[in-house]
Every structure is written in C-alpha cells, then in structure tokens.
C-alpha cells in the first residue's frame, strides 16, 4: 500500500441474498484528499460506504486502512482507529439534547464504563462538546432535543457526533440529502473546512454538488466501478456522460 493511501478496497463484492449490490470494486483513497463517490440512485454507493466504514463486511474482497487489513473489524472499533461516519439517513439521539448527543459521543473515547461518577462531573467533555457544536454552527441549539431540530441541523449535529473521535478519516453518506439549497450550502462549506484537515470520503448522487470541492471522484454504476479520476477527467468521460444522461443530476 502506497504511503499516500489511507483506505483501500481490494476486489470488494457485496451480495444481499442473490442480488449483487457491489461487484469486484477496487479503489483507494488518498491521504488528506476529498474523494467523492458518485453514481445514480441504486448504484451501490451506500453499500460501498457501509463496507468501507465497517457497518457490514464485504462478501468477498478485503479492506485496508493505513498499514493493516480491517476487513470484518466490528463497527464500534472504528472511531478508536480514527474513522468516523455519518449515515445517509439522519442518525442522532432524538430524546437527548444537542450537547448531550455530542457528550455521549465524546465519552465513547474515554468513559465507556464509568459507573460511579456523575456524568456532569466532566467539565472537559462539556467544553469539547460545546466547541464541536460551535464548529458545526449549532451553538445556539445546545439545549434543544436533537429530535426537535430542523432536518439540516440534525445532519450538522451528526457531523459533530462523527467529529467527536477526532477522526483522521471522515466518511459522509449524502450529507445534504433532503436539505434546502441554503442548508446544502452551509453543509458543503462545513465539509470543505473539514476536508482541509483530514481525509474525507463523500458519497453523493448529485454530481454537480461535488465537482467543485472534490480532489478525486469515483463513479459507480450497477455496483461496478465505472470511472475514477479528477473532476476534469470525470466530466469528460463518455461512459459517465452516458450514465448520467437522462438522470436527474
């Protein structure tokens, strides 16, 4: 594995019953880069995302992270390896306040089985939680229940949850899904800022949205790797044009 590569999928196939959602995909992701995985709905983007981020193992093939193989590593071990993610479908703790959401995420790194102290007796966690909410623009909503936040705000909160483990690699599955244009702009700005400091893998089906900010693009179609390259390469790729023609992009 080259020293520039952070994450690598090698011949990854994923089947659901008889259906093959991902067919022999080999890709690598470079350190410090923002790589977007694009493709029409049903192309297998989320499946690849889930295999890469440990939600389920591939049916065949291997995953490497930094200098070791991580195929089959359980999901909960990922944050401590420095890999965090946000899901395609909003995934927060709805009945907890925004700041409690982040605090519980932070606590996963330090106090998983602390039974005999008050959870409020950790000022450093509280401060960090508030700083993270600041970072994603939710400082005003600290004490609101996550379930009562606007859709876009919940998505930003989920990014804050992902950032809690100080990830070197951040994976985001359609972070702007269902967002208004204004919310989308806020989220894309946030992602650009985050990408300046770490490796980011972004799944998106709207190609236009990621062209401007991606260093590298991966195009999936019917579970197969269709193309791979810089935004310029992809824009001029005939296969990609054909796949996206007639598709709402």
């Amino acid at each position: 594995m080259s020293t520039d590569t952070v994450l690598k999928a090698d011949g990854v196939t994923r089947r659901f019953g008889r259906f093959t959602a991902l067919k022999d995909v080999s890709v690598s992701f470079n350190r410090g880069r923002l790589t977007s995985i694009i493709g029409p709905n049903g192309a297998g983007k989320s499946t690849l995302f889930n295999v890469l981020s440990g939600a389920f193992p591939p049916s065949e093939g291997r995953i490497y992270y930094e200098d070791r193989e991580i195929t089959g590593t359980p999901q909960h071990a990922f944050p401590r390896m420095g890999i965090a993610k946000s899901f395609q479908i909003t995934n927060v703790f709805p009945q907890l306040t925004a700041v409690e959401n982040v605090r519980v995420a932070l606590q996963a790194m330090t106090n998983r089985f602390t039974l005999w102290r008050s959870r409020t007796s950790f000022p450093e966690l509280q401060e960090k939680a508030e700083a993270l909410l600041d970072q994603v623009g939710l400082d005003r909503h600290r004490h609101r229940n996550a379930g009562n936040l606007a859709h876009g705000e919940q998505r930003c909160l989920e990014v804050a949850l992902a950032l809690a483990c100080e990830p070197r690699l951040l994976l985001l599955d359609e972070p702007t899904a269902g967002m208004s244009p204004e919310e989308t702009r806020v989220m894309m700005d946030l992602i650009e800022g985050l990408a300046a400091e770490r490796t980011v893998i972004l799944v998106e089906h709207k190609m236009k949205l990621v062209m401007g900010i991606s260093d590298q693009l991966i195009v999936l179609h019917h579970g197969e790797l269709l193309a791979e390259g810089t935004p310029a390469d992809i824009q001029s790729n005939d296969d990609v044009k054909r796949v996206y023609l007639g598709q709402r992009t």
Binding site: H76, L96, E100, A164
Partner: protein, 336 residues
C-alpha cells in the same frame, strides 16, 4: 443537573393554575432531591399502609421492578425472564440458610454471586437478540431456570417451595434481631433497599447511564460512536439482574419461605406490569407501580376472587390510555 432524568423529571411551574402550583412546587422539590425524598417517605411508610407486611412487599417488588426497569425503561429491552433473578436470589439465599446453615449475611452474599452467574449467562445469550426475540429468549431461559429448580426437589422443595428459613433470631452486627416483628423486619429490609436505591440512582446519573440512554435512543448511532453495544447491554443486564436478585434474596428472609412461583414467568410479568403502571424509564415509576398494584390487589382480593380479571383490565386500560404510567404522566402534565 443536565442528566436525562432530571430533565424528564424537571417540573416547570408556568402554565399551571395557582392551586396546582403548590403541588407542582412540591413535586419539583421531590424530583430534585429524589433520593432524600424517597428515604423520608420510606422511613414512615409502614404506618401509612393497612398493615406493615404490605409495606415490605411494596418495597421488595418496587426494588425488583426498579432493577428490571434498568433494562426495560432505560436501555429499551423488554425482558420476560427477570423472575429468574428474583427467584434465584431467593432460592440461593434460602437454600444456603436452610440446608447449609450459612448465616443470613453470607447467604445473601452467596445468593448474589449465584444471581450474577445466572444473569451473566442469560445476558450473554439474550443480549445477542433484539425486540421480540429478546423477549422470547429471556422468557424461555427464565422458564428453564424455573423447571431446573422445580426438579431439584431435595434442595428446593420442588412444587412445595423452600420452607424453614429461620428469621426469628438473626444476628445483625452481633445483636440478635427478631424479624417476626414487622417493624424490625421493615427497617431490616430498608437497610438494604435504601442503599440499593441510592446505588441505582448513581448508576443512572453516571456516564454509563448516558450510554444506556444512547443505546435506547439509537443503537446504530451508539455503535458508530464507538460503543460496543452488545457488551454494554450485557453489563446493564448483569446489573439489572443483581438488583432483582437483591429483592429476591430479601424476599426469602421476608417470607421465610420461597414459593416456586417466585421463578415463574408470572413474576416476570409483575415487573413488566409494575413498571408500566408506574411509568417505564422513570426513577420513581417502578415503586409507584408496585404500590398501586399491590394495594389494589390487596383491596380487590378482599372483595372478589376474580381480582386478576380486575387488575388485568386496569392494566389494559393503562396501556391504552396512560402509556407513560402514573408517574410518567404526572411529570409530563406538570412539566411541559
């Protein structure tokens, strides 16, 4: 305090008519100092009851339902097998005292060790499943314990239950205490149940308590945050089983017998009913549920032999119209 519980049990006095304000303020104070409030109430409790043994029953079943609520209300898993921990605690303590002449304190300690082992094994098998499967697996394993103890006639007395637990002269720190005296017995029980309530409250307020809430709220996200959900559930299950085991162990001393029913799924069902009546996932709910259930049972059995029908109907009405239970609904009405 910014914990989940203090938040759900936080009471605002706005929007409530003046007459209700005093009640709200009183409840507010209760919710703030919940451990102290409970202990004061518990100290005078037997004299508020028709007879003192009922007070002990309410405490014991309250503790049982509270332990159960750690899994049900706080972690979000419905178990139908918690009688296994209540009954095992009762039998292990009783058998140690009756057959092996172990002093009561040693017998209780031994009982808890055995409950821990049983809860560890059942937890390991059950926490791998979710939802209805979890309910079924706990039910099946609970019944397995029931039949196993039922078969051990020599030790357990089988269908007749375990008899002959001597409690008329227990040595408490060297002082002989006659537990046949209802007041002595009540305070003896309180000496265990009071600290148990306090420990429980500490666990809920701890970072671990926050993890349980997170798992109840969203298991997937908790996992993605770095929590080993299966392992956390197992620890919660073990703790829950231990609290229920303490209740069972004390019940052996309370009744001086252990009926085989203490292991039956009816007993598991009692914990479910009491938690739901009082309010699942609330601190006081299980005790209020135990209080209402046992008091009604006591009153209704004096009127009719069909008391189960009445309690069953009441339970259904509660689930339909007051799903948050008595305490849960009260908090909601006065709180938000």
């Amino acid at each position: 305090m910014a914990t989940k519980n203090s938040r759900t049990e936080r009471l605002a006095t706005n929007d409530i008519p003046i007459s209700g304000r005093r009640v709200a303020a009183a409840l507010h104070a209760v919710a703030r100092h919940r451990v102290l409030a409970v202990l004061v109430l518990l100290a005078i409790f037997p004299w508020l009851m028709p007879y003192k043994a009922l007070a002990v029953d309410i405490l014991l079943y309250g503790l049982f339902a509270m332990g159960f609520n750690l899994i049900f209300g706080y972690t979000g898993m419905l178990s139908f097998g918690h009688a296994a921990f209540f009954g095992t605690g009762a039998y292990a303590t009783g058998i140690a005292m009756v057959h092996f002449n172990v002093p009561w304190f040693g017998a209780m300690a031994l009982g808890l060790v055995i409950v821990a082992a049983v809860a560890a094994v059942i937890g390991l098998l059950a926490t791998r499943t979710r939802g209805i499967y979890f309910a079924m697996v706990t039910l099946a394993l609970g019944q397995l314990v029931y039949y196993a103890v039922y078969q051990m006639t020599e030790l357990s007395g089988g269908e007749n239950g375990l008899r002959g637990i001597q409690v008329s002269e227990l040595s408490v720190l060297g002082v002989p205490v006659n537990l046949l005296d209802p007041v002595n017995k009540y305070y003896f029980m309180l000496a265990f149940i009071g600290p148990a309530i306090w420990v429980f409250s500490r666990i809920l307020a701890s970072p671990f308590g926050a993890v349980l809430e997170a798992i109840r709220e969203n298991e997937n996200r908790a996992r993605a945050c770095g929590y080993n959900v299966a392992q956390t559930k197992w620890v919660a299950f073990l703790l829950s089983g231990l609290f229920c085991g303490v209740a069972g162990s004390l019940s052996a001393i309370h009744l001086s017998i252990v009926p085989i029913e203490s292991l039956h799924y009816h007993t598991s069902g009692l914990a479910v009913m009491m938690s739901l009546l009082g309010g699942m996932g609330t601190f006081f709910g299980p005790f209020i549920g135990a209080f209402v259930f046992l008091l009604l049972e006591d009153v209704i059995t004096n009127i009719t032999v069909h008391w189960q029908l009445f309690l069953g109907t009441l339970f259904v009405l509660f689930v339909l119209f007051l799903p948050k239970g008595i305490w849960g609904t009260l908090l909601e009405r006065l709180g938000r």
